[in-house]
Symmetry: C2
Subunit: 208 residues, 2 copies
């Protein structure tokens, strides 16, 4: 089975390749791709080989070609449409997040169970729709991924709405585990893992 962690690493290599391409670099090595993340050259080669992207011994990888082929492997040659369920503070912050503009993901709908109370935000270009219209909207706009931005106790309800509308993947920001039928993929976002990462380094350097 492909592991989530191996895919994360491929996403990291893709970001590095995008940077190299912007700098006009044409060739790179497994060492260069992994060094910023402390991933060994051997691990980089293993990851890329697993996905069928091979370099040429002694020459390394062609930046543009490798980037194209990894985009193809991850299914990123096209734009993916995303619906955000929960138009509160987080949902609206996600909808306006400029970091999405450079990605292959487009927020195509923003929905809430109380759409009237949150319509105050003039600068939001997306209309806030009632959650009950998700099935029609998902079909019309080809939406395949749902983001959950509701409080923990409402997370399962939101997941049920997303699954019922036929979406096949969920990015869950709520602090609660959700149950979904087989064939629906879920990733739970937990930023405290990054805080633990920072705490380790601060502890080691300043508190030992």
């Amino acid at each position: 089975a492909v592991s989530t962690l191996a895919l994360f690493r491929v996403s990291l290599y893709l970001r590095r390749l995008a940077e190299l391409e912007q700098e006009g670099v044409e060739k790179t090595s497994s060492r260069e791709l992994g060094e910023r993340f402390s991933i060994s050259a051997a691990s980089v080669r293993k990851d890329l080989g697993f996905f069928g992207a091979f370099g040429r011994a002694g020459i390394g990888y062609e930046v543009h070609g490798l980037r194209e082929s990894l985009m193809g492997i991850l299914g990123l040659e096209r734009t993916w449409k995303v619906a955000i369920v929960g138009a509160g503070r987080l949902g609206r912050a996600l909808a306006k997040h400029k970091g999405l503009a450079e990605s292959k993901f487009e927020i195509s709908a923003l929905l809430d169970k109380f759409p009237d109370k949150t319509l105050g935000e003039g600068e939001l270009k997306l209309e806030i729709l009632h959650i009950d219209v998700l099935p029609e909207v998902a079909h019309e706009r080809d939406i395949e991924i749902g983001i959950i931005a509701v409080p923990g106790p409402d997370a399962q309800d939101a997941a049920n709405s997303i699954v019922a509308a036929g979406l096949k993947a969920i990015l869950n920001f709520a602090p609660a585990r959700i149950k979904v039928p087989p064939g629906v993929f879920v990733h739970n976002v937990d930023f405290t893992i990054y805080l633990e990462n920072l705490a380790y380094f601060v502890n080691r350097v300043y508190h030992q």
Copy 2:
């Protein structure tokens, strides 16, 4: 050098150990610790060995003891105080995020360059302070980590405020790279990596 990815894996093992402890399980194995994340038993043993946590051949690991020692290694026996810079949509969503309650991280201050405009939120228990008081507040409340929740163009300003106040680590949610002096640790949050992960599985199962 300890790699960020190895630390992420240790954080994942810690979450698994917390679950096992809640279920009353007393012994576990490297296979059990890694299987949900598709990490091989050998990699788990290698990670834990690197940080000095060894199991006993044939018997495995003692759940409670291993959890305690990993908490110690990551510096998580105590609470870390955190300041959020930027009290807009995302900053307020982070301040109220219930997922923090179970972690070792406590939001001790919420600051903004325009604190008056955002004070409308009655239910927020944290006062929104002006960013200029971060040095005094960080000293009084022992704050060591800063979170950046400002727009991209303001991210470097926010980073400068955090560094000037003496904080040693930054979790950056803004879609912009920030420069910090040596000895200050930064982690950039990019949730599009998780969307890429989901796209890979949906593409493989439904679009091949």
